[in-house]
Symmetry: C2
Subunit: 400 residues, 2 copies
């Protein structure tokens, strides 16, 4: 089969216009936002034009289905609060192009998907988590974003587009093309990364509750300052982790909310996000124990209460050998000596989908390793090369 | 002159209904909010009924003026984002009652004021700062709240109420009744505190700017995490202050904003409020030097940029000897053996007004020392005792 690079790039740029914001090619298209809904409806139209049957499940996961058994390709079209034009969108539009090329070539059967809330407005890869049965719809509906909006409320904006559950039994496997979101390929001057496995992740909110009071009349030794507790926790955590983590382990406190968040008031409550990732499930567990113990220790020492939100966890996942071999063979054809096998430090929907079918992933470079930012970008010839590898792998699987 | 305790308490409870929120007697009435505007218009009506001439200056400071030379009494009717029913409101309604009682007694001439934005939506005691000439209207208009709204825009909601500048030369002095906002009087079982001096305050925003990036693919050693810098600054600051501060010194980081504030993104920017208070102006300066040096040191060590917002500073202020003596004499009559002389750890409009005329303050207890919170409260007999002391002091000054 033969992909059409120009057709693919035009679709990619057209999708970028829906929610375009910030500098350069920045995009603001969080799950269930006006821009996200508009993007899914635009994608549905392109799917129909490609001869695919459009279905949407109650979560808002959008499918373009081929007849009979098919291989599923795709990613997600929602973005971070401040995202780039490729994170997710690349994999969805690439799948659309491969489906079109396959149809034009008379097969194989290729279906397309755009999962919902991969970027975690409400959690972590929420859409594929529900579709794969890892998370129940009712549990998902109870999740709230940082402004307190429940997912169950937010997803109503797509209610009229929902057709019902989508049966996973019709798919023979799942493949996802994504930007690396790290510096490895870009610094090595390589074009393709075939993923060996995806690291595991843990993510939960932690709340310190102390005593809100006047910032001028409350002596330091009588304060129960929730933010001081967060700062002490953050600083000491690095010491506690020292003998447990590897250079590949990461942990992040990306969200912090103080209450009432005024300069003349001792903060009475602080809520923050604690997220950590590693390829070793045992290490993730040891880190969780350290986090819970340290938070409890600091709360007790300062007379505060600590509480832990529900934890969203995903285990490390190895890619399917057969699908991965097809991607490696195609990469060797398209980018000889400019591809490698590598792990994914970023989380992807493929982690959830692996519960239902064989999965595999490939990466194209991220310039400067930058993503989850307006500046995220990749050279267009690398983007097209990625689609080409995907198409050749699909054809190879069909022939084999 | 004879105050009417029931009339005073009814006004105080009526005012509490404007912006009533949260638990108990909670009030949400920040500067220029709908509730703040409604409260000022209600107060203007009560001033007219008391035979006072109502004037409002361009900042929104509301005056009820007696004829000729008069003593000015009052406080502020704006509240914290989450405030109590007494912080500010008590002093304004008490002034209203003293003005009424004085008028009924045929003198002396008492004027009433409710200053604007004492709670610092835009800064620190912004309304009295402009009225006293400490802050220019144009500089004040450029101040923004934590949502980025400029004061110059916000104050337009009162434009139709503004009558023009109010000449301070007509006032012989200023007195303010306020809740203590600390635990001293309540724990001692005392009713009245006559203020000796008000501590000085420094308040500024500090911004750390690093690199926003993906929380899964950016190795820890390559991160420029703005929140990690804030945490390190917060923890180390306590050590740097150790040999400089006294048990009466306080410092607070009450506001923190991360950007983009998402759990899967390394924070690229963090803005936080740094406020510190002490009775010694030299110590305030030494603390500022430590703050600026440490922030620059931490930014340099981590490859981040640091910037400092404009600093709002107010010097420690001693109360006027003559006004204070009148308050002490009245306190001895109303609450023999249940009053004391004490400093004010909280900032008040009297600090600004002291640039224009002699000022004095008195406190009534705060139950549990709690304020800047919905739970703030004081026994009603203590509230009435405070108004009685204020009235007797005014009469005493008149006779002397």
């Amino acid at each position: 089969m033969q992909i059409n690079g120009e057709r693919f790039l035009k679709d990619l740029h057209d999708l970028r216009q829906i929610g375009a914001a910030g500098v350069g090619k920045g995009v603001v298209r969080p799950a269930y936002s006006e821009a996200d809904v508009a993007a899914r409806r635009w994608l549905a139209g392109r799917m129909r034009e490609a001869g695919l049957r459009v279905e949407m499940d109650p979560m808002g996961n959008l499918f373009g289905l081929a007849e009979g058994k098919s291989i599923l390709i795709g990613s997600h079209s929602d973005s971070q609060p401040e995202g780039g034009w490729l994170d997710g969108a690349l994999g969805v539009v690439a799948a659309l192009e491969v489906a079109r090329a396959a149809a034009e070539a008379g097969g194989p059967a290729v279906s397309v998907v755009s999962f919902q809330d991969e970027e975690g407005r409400f959690g972590v890869t929420t859409g594929s988590a529900v579709w794969s049965g890892h998370l129940s719809q009712s549990d998902a509906d109870a999740l709230t974003d940082h402004r307190g909006v429940a997912l169950g409320e937010a997803r109503k904006v797509l209610a009229e587009d929902v057709t019902g559950p989508v049966d996973a039994a019709q798919f023979t496997g799942f493949m996802e093309l994504h930007i690396e979101q790290g510096p490895t390929l870009d610094t090595a001057g390589e074009t393709i990364g075939v993923v060996s496995d995806i690291v595991g992740i843990r993510d939960m909110n932690i709340t310190f509750a102390g005593q809100q009071n006047h910032a001028g009349t409350t002596p330091m030794h009588l304060r129960k300052d929730a933010f001081q507790a967060v700062a002490a926790f953050t600083t000491e955590l690095q010491n506690r982790f020292a003998n447990v983590v590897t250079p590949a382990t990461v942990w992040t406190m990306g969200h912090v909310t103080l209450h009432p968040n005024a300069s003349s008031i001792v903060p009475g409550r602080a809520v923050f996000s604690m997220q950590w990732r590693d390829g070793d499930a045992d290490r993730l567990g040891r880190m969780e124990a350290i986090i819970r113990d340290l938070a409890a220790e600091i709360a007790a020492a300062r007379g505060l209460e600590v509480s832990f939100g529900g934890m969203l966890g995903l285990e490390p996942v190895a890619m399917d050998a057969r699908l991965r071999a097809a991607l490696e063979a195609a990469a060797a054809q398209v980018a000889p000596d400019r591809w490698r096998i590598m792990p994914s430090g970023a989380l992807h929907d493929a982690t959830n989908v692996s519960r239902l079918m064989p999965v595999a992933m490939l990466f194209v470079p991220s310039i400067g390793g930058i993503s989850h930012a307006f500046e995220e970008d990749t050279a267009e010839h690398d983007l097209v090369a990625g689609v080409d590898v995907l198409a050749r792998a699909v054809a190879g699987l069909h022939d084999s």
